[in-house]
Symmetry: D2
Subunit: 193 residues, 4 copies
């Protein structure tokens, strides 16, 4: 119970910070942003807190559609559970836009700030993987990890499937930590793009 309070309270603090970040509003993708933070040893999406209804843009600012809640995310929850198999400390993630122009800026930003960047080219996904959503995620995260020689990157991005928007994900140790980092990234982008 206490562990759940800790995780939910941390996500809540993170989301209140994010709602004040005008610049992050520019980084919210069409599929909207979610922010996840997993319990230690999380095994299923019920062990991962996310924002119910995701985070959208209202009046030029990010806005959580609902409360932080366990089980509120499916896609991002499965992503972070795969990441935790490689490094159990990396329990938090937040997704944002990816496209060619932004990608160029993002690469420079990562170099400047010494951030490790991994990627996966979804056009290379084997057909038999695509049929099962869970299988697809296992393959995707394995590719990301492989792209940076077995480590967990700070930022992962994916490219290229039909019907799927490309997105980036920033990975870290807590919800508050990743929002601080993605907030800095957003401010830098709005200033320098």
């Amino acid at each position: 119970m206490n562990e759940k309070d800790l995780v939910l309270g941390n996500v809540l603090q993170a989301v209140m910070m994010l709602e004040k970040s005008h610049s992050f509003a520019y980084l919210i993708p069409e599929v909207r942003t979610n922010l996840v933070y997993a319990l230690p040893n999380a095994k299923s999406k019920e062990d991962v807190a996310g924002i119910e209804g995701r985070i959208t843009v209202v009046n030029g600012y990010p806005k959580a559609s609902g409360f932080p809640k366990f089980g509120a995310s499916s896609h991002m929850a499965r992503f972070i559970i795969e990441i935790m198999k490689v490094n159990p400390e990396m329990r938090a993630g937040i997704n944002f836009i990816y496209n060619n122009d932004f990608g160029k800026w993002l690469k420079e930003y990562c170099e400047k700030n010494n951030l490790l960047m991994g990627c996966v080219d979804r056009s290379k996904e084997p057909e038999e993987r695509k049929r099962k959503e869970g299988d697809s995620m296992v393959w995707k995260v394995a590719e990301v990890i492989r792209s940076v020689n077995g480590r967990v990157p700070d930022i992962a991005y994916e490219t290229g499937a039909v019907g799927k928007e490309s997105v980036s994900v920033l990975i870290g140790k807590s919800a508050v930590e990743i929002v601080e980092r993605v907030g800095s990234l957003g401010e830098d982008y709005v200033k320098n793009r």
Copy 2:
């Protein structure tokens, strides 16, 4: 002023109906749903009312992220403005999922209910169109209209681009009208899929 009140009040009534439709929650795409209703003779997105922050899913029900507002939609607003060039009475639209399985069901539903269905294959979009978002929409709606011999269909769907989720759109005369129709469609889908 009065015309704006009429449009906003109608969208508000529509969105309150939609928020009670548990089955429509199954039809909300990754990019989330928007619901637009244009002023007569709408020329720009500022003449079209939509839901700020779009409509997401919270506790299993559709939930508007913000209030109905003029200028709140960009993509769906441009869509309905193109439609109004063909039939100025068709001032309202709402988007929902499209994929192969749902598409089969949807075709049968439209036949059974005597609804006209148009489509556009986005993989055929000319390269030079894609570069400008506005141009892309002009081409898309022209293709949809062409697919049903110059009429405005009841439902349009698109397929196939890299990085773009496929969606369907139901088109009609007012926000309340299209929500009533898409609500019936949702109930039928949940019962019979």
Copy 3:
């Protein structure tokens, strides 16, 4: 139907204006503010639109707890229905704080701006009236009207019952009109109090 759209759309525009008024946040009473706008010839609270859950303060700004909706107000709806028996054009009202200090400022503001101010002393309410909520309102509004010689005042305030917070109400022709007026009042108060 159209008349309902007009009223709801007008309340929606009004509430979006109010949510931007930082100074009105200082005028929201403990019982919270409601904003009502009645259909012509309104007879019951179902004919009066109000804000569901009332208007509270979040991050220093007024915030509607829910959507504008018919039947959402009980107290303020009965108030405006009684007012409409005297002048059917006065279909909108919004309540805000009243106390001795604010009352002094409010009197000066009304004189300066040529606003008619009515009042009712609730300590004079006959015991048999208090037992039925509806009866109480009939008596209250009659007293307010009597206090300004049979007219409908621009602003009415009440004083003094055990267990009941004193409030003021600004009365007018539409939701947008009263929010414009109460917004000016709020700005003047914050500047000059």
Copy 4:
């Protein structure tokens, strides 16, 4: 930091439980409900988490107007800080209605469930106390404690001031605990009133 996460996460879990309690909607007073949970050794309202904008009623259910947040409550925060001077473990409180009819029911409920009930008659408040809000609270809580011979009661209620709504408060060790208890109380009331 961790202590703050724990408190916020606990309030969040509590408020999500409360939002599902249809019967508690009947117990929300005109001034709306707030729910507070203090950090250990809380000294000022910034050390106490509450619900921003309080908890109102939307569609027949309790609804938090904003997020749980430190500093979001003033009145209830000062109340719980005074209580903690007597018993530092009693760090959480939630307010709800009080009136003569409800009071009779509440007394029976407390007897049946072995709950200690304290009270303060605000008509006995010394004039000089009323002038300073802080002083008023010190006096009020001292009276409540005196009414139950120096202990902290499970439920405290106040009666009788001009311009002030009477309310009850349930006091306990955590936000989740008091919501569980006030939820049972609400269900019993709705069944048996």
